[in-house]
């Protein structure tokens, strides 16, 4: 009896059967939507891999391992050797990495140790972020009109053929583009070094340089390595700026000033013109290679970071 009374008094608690069914349905649909979207992403990733693999099969069957060591790429006679592009890709990426490492480390120390907060730190942090925000195509355009003439005059002075464009020019632009990525990680791991470790060294009379050299760098080694690795991942797949600056030559580069081609730049240049199944398939095979390599690099890099930040 008391129950009935209370139910009549408080109508709000009474929800119709229909209403409940409607809510339950929406609730179930909502949860299904969340689940499906998460599954969807995993499926899309797998589908990307499978699509690339299947589409590369004609080329893999026709060319086989010759794709890796073949020196000539001549679609007219259906000859697809990828060695020039493999070398071009590795050379530009490694050179870019070498150029960028001292800068990434310096900026990482600047933001993570010397100027951890305040106006100066804020300004430089924003500048580095903006460096990452500038589109690749604009770096390429700028490089074409500013960097290429500079490199050309350098080449004239050195007495090498003054192409202006080439591996070296591309690597400089790539270095500029990957610095922000390495820096954001390097600065982060450096700022995570426990204060008590540093204080212990200071209390023994160490200078800041000695603290950096003996405490900070050893402590953050794996994190800095991950930052460089992720930079490498970006450099390998970077397309537009490199396409505009590398000179698009199908010959194996003989020096760092030679023009060349990377896998990404060949795809960008030839994909829409690729007639013939094997030609297109060979380009897709390079895409597959880039996908696999960057994925491995990314997974390893992020593992290392995760382990570092847990420690």
């Amino acid at each position: 009896m008391t129950i009935n009374r209370s139910y009549r008094k408080i109508k709000l608690q009474y929800i119709g059967r229909k209403e409940i069914r409607r809510i339950n349905f929406t609730e179930a649909s909502f949860k299904k939507m969340l689940l499906l979207s998460a599954i969807g992403l995993v499926v899309v990733l797998l589908a990307i891999f499978v699509t690339l693999l299947i589409s590369s099969l004609p080329s893999i069957k026709a060319i086989g391992v010759g794709f890796i060591y073949g020196k000539t790429w001549d679609p007219v006679v259906d000859h697809y050797g990828g060695l020039p592009f493999l070398i071009g890709t590795l050379l530009t990426a490694l050179l870019a990495l070498i150029i960028s490492i001292p800068f990434s480390l310096a900026v990482g120390l600047f933001l993570g140790e010397y100027f951890r907060s305040g106006v100066i730190s804020g300004i430089f942090k924003n500048i580095i972020e903006l460096l990452a925000a500038i589109p690749s195509v604009i770096y390429g355009f700028w490089g074409l009109f500013v960097l290429v003439p500079l490199v050309r005059s350098l080449e004239t002075t050195l007495g090498v053929p003054p192409y202006g464009v080439g591996i070296f020019t591309s690597s400089i632009i790539l270095a500029i583009m990957i610095i922000p990525y390495s820096v954001s990680l390097t600065a982060q791991v450096i700022s995570l070094v426990p204060a008590n470790l540093k204080e212990a060294a200071y209390s023994l009379g160490a200078t800041r340089f000695e603290v950096i050299k003996n405490i900070i760098l050893p402590y953050t080694r794996s994190g800095i390595f991950a930052g460089i690795l992720l930079g490498l991942g970006r450099a390998l797949g970077e397309t537009m700026a490199v396409t505009m600056l590398i000179g698009n030559s199908h010959i194996i580069p003989t020096s760092i000033f030679s023009p060349g081609n990377t896998m990404a730049s060949v795809i960008a240049n030839e994909f829409t013109e690729a007639t013939g199944d094997i030609y297109l398939s060979a380009l897709i095979e390079m895409g597959l290679f880039l996908f696999v390599v960057t994925t491995i690099i990314n997974v390893i890099g992020r593992r290392v970071i995760k382990r570092f930040s847990i420690n």
Binding site: T2, I3, S6, K9, I10, L12, Q13, Y14, I15, I20, I23
Partner: protein
């Protein structure tokens, strides 16, 4: 039993393998204030979170046995119906940060999509805020964010939010543990007022508080109810040695 609003029967609760409530049997009368007391980790909070089934939000959390509200097993009721019937106030004040004081007071309606006319809304806001004695303090700033209020005011706003849906039972999980003494005494006065309309179950650490405001007290120890009796009786004449120790401050 006439007048029994809540009944726990052989109730057990677990976190994974870990049993946190052991064979709870408890009857709570309509319009009583029941204090749930005991040392930390004894399952008090888990117990009241089982009443409106917030317990099962935690991954791995399970329960068995029965809790009856108005003779209906809560584990067989629709969650929405159950939770509208039972209001809850948490340890730390948690007004919705994106809502104004006004919206917070009728959040139960807004979020549940219950349409009200403007005048009805105003009425609900005013009555709920008056019931928690907050109206005079905030009536000129109803459209400010709820998070601008002081801790004590925020907690009263949370109580207003809980009672605006006219629940039958109000669960309070250490509602004053994050508040200063003045705010605490205001909330205690409020509980005294609210008991005319609601059945209140309050988890508290504070023995004086239990003594001041409750009609009955349940003493929890390691997941069991060691003693459940009229508060005065528990404080003056505890049956169990552990209760006695706790009340006299020997542990906890």
């Amino acid at each position: 039993m006439a007048g029994t609003i809540l009944k726990a029967k052989n109730f057990n609760a677990f976190f994974g393998q870990n049993q946190v409530l052991k064979n709870i049997n408890l009857d709570i009368m309509r319009n009583d204030v029941v204090a749930v007391m005991g040392p930390s980790g004894c399952g008090k909070t888990t117990f009241i979170r089982c009443i409106n089934r917030m317990h099962e939000l935690t991954p791995d959390a399970t329960a068995e046995g029965e809790i009856l509200v108005d003779d209906k097993n809560v584990y067989k009721m629709n969650l929405i119906v159950l939770r509208r019937k039972i209001g809850m106030v948490f340890q730390r004040p948690n007004p919705f940060p994106t809502m104004s004081i006004y919206q917070n007071a009728i959040a139960g309606y807004l979020l549940n999509g219950i349409k009200l006319t403007k005048s009805k809304k105003d009425e609900v806001v005013e009555t709920s805020l008056k019931r928690v004695a907050l109206w005079d303090e905030v009536k000129d700033s109803l459209h400010k964010k709820g998070t601008f209020l002081s801790g004590g005011q925020q907690q009263r706003l949370c109580i207003a939010r809980a009672i605006s849906l006219n629940p039958e039972i109000l669960l309070l999980d250490e509602p004053t543990s994050a508040l200063d003494p003045i705010s605490t005494s205001k909330i205690e006065e409020l509980i005294y007022e609210l008991k005319k309309n609601y059945t209140i179950i309050i988890v508290t650490h504070n023995m004086q508080q239990a003594g001041r405001i409750s009609d009955k007290t349940a003493f929890f120890y390691l997941g069991e109810v060691l003693e459940y009796n009229v508060t005065k009786e528990i404080f003056t004449n505890p049956k169990h040695e552990k209760t006695q120790n706790y009340i006299t401050g020997h542990f906890g």
